[in-house]
């Protein structure tokens, strides 16, 4: 019964989305405030019914209802309850319901927190989100029904959730990622609303910015979690593979970063308006493209949720309608919203322009590289592969190019600045950065030129920020602090990425109990081997002791698990995490008959800095949203409406 209720709720949600897409938009076109005023209630109604549907699906999983096909193929009675819940979105159909749920959440949030938004704008924004909801709801109902039943003949037990996904990371990674992807739909909706209205002023940017920043922060966290999860779950110590699905999340992030900076310029100075609108369309289009790539089977990936060309066609048509439609609207309406504000060669605006352009080039490069195999195949030119060697070679220089501009940005002035002033402000940080670049890498043997370069660039950022912070110490705003934290995060991330790539040491070898191996000054001793039992697996567990300079530094217990339900075998790496280094041990196979095992030992310096940097970036973005000026608006509106009420 419950699955049927869930199914029905989804259908009602689709109907509400249809009404939301049409009626308020018509109201905005004709100036009918009754029609427009329906939008917030419809958005909330959408959330309620999608929520009910999601709740029913979760109930089916939690209650082990194996008559529902989805539950039978992705869950199992032995699965711990938390993973039964996470299994709801650990598959194609369920993840779509999550997508729509989060879309509805954002729409409801916009409906509830937009007291200062004119009804004309709000109705258009929510209508656009309604259109997107229609697409995903119909996709779900027509091609990927999560509530399909296996009656008659429901299996006694399910096939189990892929052991790789039985992990806390799975519980949070997709929802965070979706909060980001889907969150860009708000910026997109604002952009479309502006184009439809033919007006885009600084207040538009002020409304858009918080939503965009929050979405970007979530996306940052989602990507970071994905990288961290791959690192500790997959057993090979890697954290980014430029896989098409990973790129599908990274491209909206890159475009989104350009967008949040462009919005800053639009808000402060009213320029880059049509640029910002285009970026908003671009970022969300990349989110939709990502959905297509992950589910259509057009590109090979270990991550792909589904490889069904029929479903792919549906999404492609939807993509064509939404993106094609918005770009057409842009082509016709952009002149109405563009600005002719001027600024000097040397100014903050020009630095932001450089920032935008570099991120755009980076996004397009990743896009081209990801789609290149498909392009070559479609043109009949054979089969090629594009992987990490290519992406690393082209992406890293672009980021290196970005950093000098990034260091100048916070210090620079709007409209007109002078190189002489930059020189006087930043000469000391620049020189100190060069010194750091030469000396700090000496702390870790062997001296590495790439690390030196990374240290130089990061120090440039950090010291420049420190200098600027000191200058402004009496008059800090929350927005400024947010920027400070986020840029610090970026600098930290750079160090983490480069240090780990350059200094990691890895060794695969055969080890027997009692043997040890020295790696980067750490002695790994294989002490013992035991059998352990988990809730739904059996495992061989190796015990390692790690010594440094004769002192015990860590005890590590990697496992080789066999999951009872599916029989699949998985290695669970043991990681000794540290702020300055990670030690990593993974078990391979038993070798020979004398109790020897193949072991992989890793030493990974500063790898956590990468994820800490990402967390800082997200924290910075969230902080910036708390700035007074977004709240003051509400007070102004509040006091204005008070005044109106009391007839002042």
């Amino acid at each position: 019964m419950i699955p049927e209720i869930g199914h029905f709720a989804l259908i009602i949600a689709l109907c509400l989305a249809l009404i939301l897409a049409i009626v308020p938009a018509w109201g905005a076109w004709r100036g009918n405030s009754v029609a427009m005023a329906l939008a917030p209630s419809l958005a909330i109604g959408l959330l309620v019914f999608v929520g009910i549907s999601f709740g029913c699906l979760s109930a089916a999983f939690l209650q082990d209802d194996f008559s529902v096909k989805l539950v039978a193929s992705h869950s199992n009675s032995l699965l711990p309850p938390i993973y039964k819940f996470a299994a709801v979105w650990g598959n194609h159909e369920g993840s779509l319901v999550l997508w729509v749920l989060i879309l509805a959440l954002w729409a409801a949030a916009v409906a509830l927190f937009s007291a200062q938004l004119p009804l004309l704008v709000l109705s258009r924004v929510l209508s656009v989100m309604g259109v997107i909801a229609i697409g995903f709801l119909s996709f779900s109902l027509l091609t990927s029904n999560p509530f399909a039943r296996l009656l008659p003949g429901a299996p006694v037990d399910g096939s189990d959730l892929n052991p790789l996904l039985q992990d806390p990371g799975l519980i949070i990674h997709p929802p965070l990622l979706y909060m980001g992807y889907v969150g860009f739909s708000v910026a997109f909706a604002f952009a479309i609303a502006a184009l439809l209205g033919g007006r885009l002023d600084a207040s538009w940017a002020r409304w858009s910015r918080p939503w965009t920043n929050i979405a970007w922060a979530f996306l940052t966290l989602g990507i970071m979690l994905g990288s961290w999860w791959a690192y500790y779950e997959l057993g090979w110590g890697g954290w980014w593979f430029w896989d098409p699905v990973e790129n599908a999340s990274f491209m909206p992030w890159l475009a989104g970063t350009a967008l949040i900076h462009s919005l800053a310029a639009t808000e402060k100075r009213g320029l880059f308006k049509s640029w910002t609108v285009l970026l908003a369309i671009f970022a969300f289009s990349l989110s939709l493209l990502g959905t297509f790539l992950v589910r259509s089977g057009v590109l090979t990936s270990v991550h792909a949720f589904a490889t069904d060309p029929e479903r792919g066609l549906f999404i492609l048509v939807f993509l064509a309608v939404v993106v094609g439609g918005s770009l057409t609207l842009y082509a016709f309406r952009a002149p109405a919203v563009s600005s002719r504000v001027s600024f000097a060669w040397v100014s903050r605006e020009s630095l932001l322009l450089c920032n935008n352009v570099i991120f755009l080039v980076a996004t397009l490069t990743v896009l081209f590289g990801t789609l290149f195999p498909l392009l070559v195949d479609a043109l009949g030119l054979g089969k090629v592969s594009v992987g990490p060697p290519y992406f690393n070679a082209v992406f890293v220089p672009l980021m290196a190019l970005l950093v000098p501009f990034m260091g100048l940005g916070p210090v620079s002035r709007w409209k007109q600045d002078a190189v002489a002033r930059w020189r006087s402000e930043l000469a000391i940080p620049a020189m100190a950065a060069v010194v750091c670049g030469f000396t700090l890498p000496l702390l870790h043997a062997p001296y590495n030129i790439w690390v030196a370069l990374a240290v130089l660039l990061s120090s440039w950022l950090v010291l420049g920020l420190a200098r600027d912070f000191w200058q402004r110490r009496g008059r800090l705003t929350t927005g400024y602090c947010g920027m400070l934290i986020a840029h610090l995060g970026f600098a930290t991330c750079i160090i983490g990425v480069v240090a780990t790539s350059q200094y990691s040491v890895e060794h695969d070898l055969k080890m027997r109990i009692g043997e040890s191996k020295v790696l980067a000054g750490y002695e790994f001793r294989f002490v013992d081997l035991a059998q352990v039992r988990g809730p739904n697996f059996m495992a061989d567990e190796a015990r390692f002791e790690v010594m440094r300079d004769g002192v015990l530094v860590a005890s590590m217990s990697p496992q080789k698990r066999r999951y009872l339900a599916s029989g699949s075998v998985m290695t669970e790496a043991a990681i000794d995490a540290g702020l300055f280094r990670d030690l990593y041990v993974a078990m391979g196979e038993p070798v020979g008959s004398d109790g020897a095992w193949a072991m992989r030992l890793h030493y990974k310096p500063l790898v956590r800095w990468m994820w800490l940097g990402a967390i800082l970036m997200a924290v910075g973005a969230f902080t910036a949203v708390l700035d007074k000026r977004y709240r003051r608006q509400r007070d102004v509106v509040h006091s204005r409406s008070e005044a109106a009420l009391h007839g002042a």
């Binding site: 090979w236 090979t300 792909a304 490889t307 755009l360 290149f372 090629v384 672009l398 699949s568």
Partner: protein, 159 residues
């Protein structure tokens, strides 16, 4: 639906291969060979897997290719020779870093062209925006100046 189910199962099997990360213990006669082995095994793609290099894959063909790589390194082949050897048997598909020839030239040139176009765009935009700024410094009228003072005072008051 059956096909999708099969694919999903295949996907599960392949994904678990990644976590299996078969760890081989090849001995190398020289340490630099081991470094080259690690690097090359990350550049070669497993012909059968869902986008994995031969270092991370547990598929039998990946194991065979790793063994072949080890043999070739010990025989003293250069990196290019080894890669050509693999390509001769499995095609360009097996290289993760596309060679510069033919279609892949576009791949390597694209970022460069994009960057050059971007720089041009920036220069053109800066030029047109800067030109306007010379013509904008009109004087404020008395009214406007008074309004400005009032607004500034209010802003100070608020913050």
């Amino acid at each position: 639906m059956k096909l999708a189910h099969q694919l999903l199962v295949a996907g599960l099997v392949l994904m678990s291969g990644r976590a299996l990360a078969l760890i081989e213990t090849y001995e190398f006669s020289k340490p630099e060979l081991e470094a080259r082995y690690q690097q090359l095994s990350e550049e070669l793609r497993c012909p059968k897997c869902q986008n994995q290099n031969i270092a991370d894959s547990n598929a039998p063909i990946a194991q065979d290719l790793r063994k072949l790589l080890h043999q070739q390194l010990e025989q003293g082949e250069s990196d290019e020779e080894i890669l050509d050897h693999m390509v001769a048997r499995y095609g360009d598909f097996v290289r993760y870093r596309p060679r510069f020839g033919g279609a892949a030239a576009a791949l390597w040139l694209a970022p460069v062209l994009l960057l050059l176009t971007a720089i041009m765009l920036v220069l053109l935009t800066l030029r047109s925006r800067a030109k306007n700024s010379d013509a904008g410094t009109a004087q404020l009228s008395n009214d406007e100046a008074a309004r400005l003072r009032a607004l500034l005072k209010k802003a100070e008051h608020d913050s």
